[in-house]
Amino acid sequence: MALIDLKKKEIYCKIVYYGPGRSGKTTNLLYIYNALPDKFKGKLLTIETKGERTLFFDLLPLSLGKIKDLDIRLQLYTVPGQALYKPARKIVLKGADGVVFVADSLRIRREKNKESLADLREHLLEWQMDIHEIPLVFQYNKRDLEKMGIPILSIEELQEDLNKDLKAPYFEAVAPKGIGVFETLKTISKMSVRYIAQKYLK
């Protein structure tokens, strides 16, 4: 649920990074956190296990840009990708205004990507949201692995598997190096804010 505070002149927008375990969701937030100067960002909150896997969620609050005379406040969340944490994913997704699906380009993760997208579809429906309606961007991450001789999926294959009927924007990425990270963020935040504004700020 988006929030528009006309007293503080702020619009709050919740963006959730979704995808299978180890696809690079937390890495996206870490890169953004490290790249931005303090005035644009709040505290990075992480709830993780000892092995650095997300246990519940990460949260990074950002303050970027304006629409009309409202300051845009983005709340970036990640879900825990491991199959086990399905209930936590449902909770984090509640009230999302936009979703980034971070897919793993590793060929051996092909089925995991598809399962995770099906899981997203299902949870959105549980919150009465339609995957075709909510702003959505795909990020095909770990494109660097090809150079290391590790078999990865081609963009055509990823598009065919995940984005064939959704036809959402997509970006290739190498999250630890920041490649594709801000492109993804810019696109999803524009789409989400515009989506909220169209409906509620006439």
């Binding site: 649920m1 929030l3 006309l6 505290k43 909770i91 509640k94 205004d97 309606e133 909220i196």
Partner: protein, 127 residues
């Protein structure tokens, strides 16, 4: 997907209610948050507390506890309370989508917080 629009008048009314019912009895911090973890209003002293994180965690805590309730066959738990050495936190649901968070020390009796929280909830729902 819904959007909540807070007008300055509404914010002022909510702040006054939280003041009159909760800050008046000695509660240090009172927040209204939605279930996405957004802060609707916050009153009281909060320089030391990172309220953004607090709101996100409180909403997640509530969400997790509701899932536990379902596993146990309960509808949901509408009140959560955590006791610390110094600070206590009380979370209660207002209607479908809003959670009232209060932080207070042992000097304020829990029973009084409960009572005032349920009274203010009725007033807020009436708005």
């Amino acid at each position: 997907m819904g959007v909540l629009i807070l007008t300055p008048e509404k914010v002022a009314r909510l702040e006054k209610l939280l003041h009159d019912y909760l800050i008046a009895i000695g509660v240090n911090l009172a927040l209204l948050i939605d279930e996405a973890g957004n802060i609707l209003v916050s009153v009281g002293q909060n320089e030391e507390v990172d309220v953004t994180s607090l709101a996100a965690l409180a909403a997640a805590n509530f969400g997790a506890t509701n899932q536990i309730a379902k596993l146990l066959g309960e509808d949901d738990f509408s009140i959560l309370y955590h006791k610390g050495k110094k600070d206590n936190i009380h979370l209660s649901k207002i209607g479908e989508d809003v959670i009232l968070v209060t932080v207070f020390t042992d000097e304020v009796p829990l029973g009084l917080v409960r009572l005032k929280a349920s009274q203010v909830a009725k007033e807020i729902q009436a708005l």
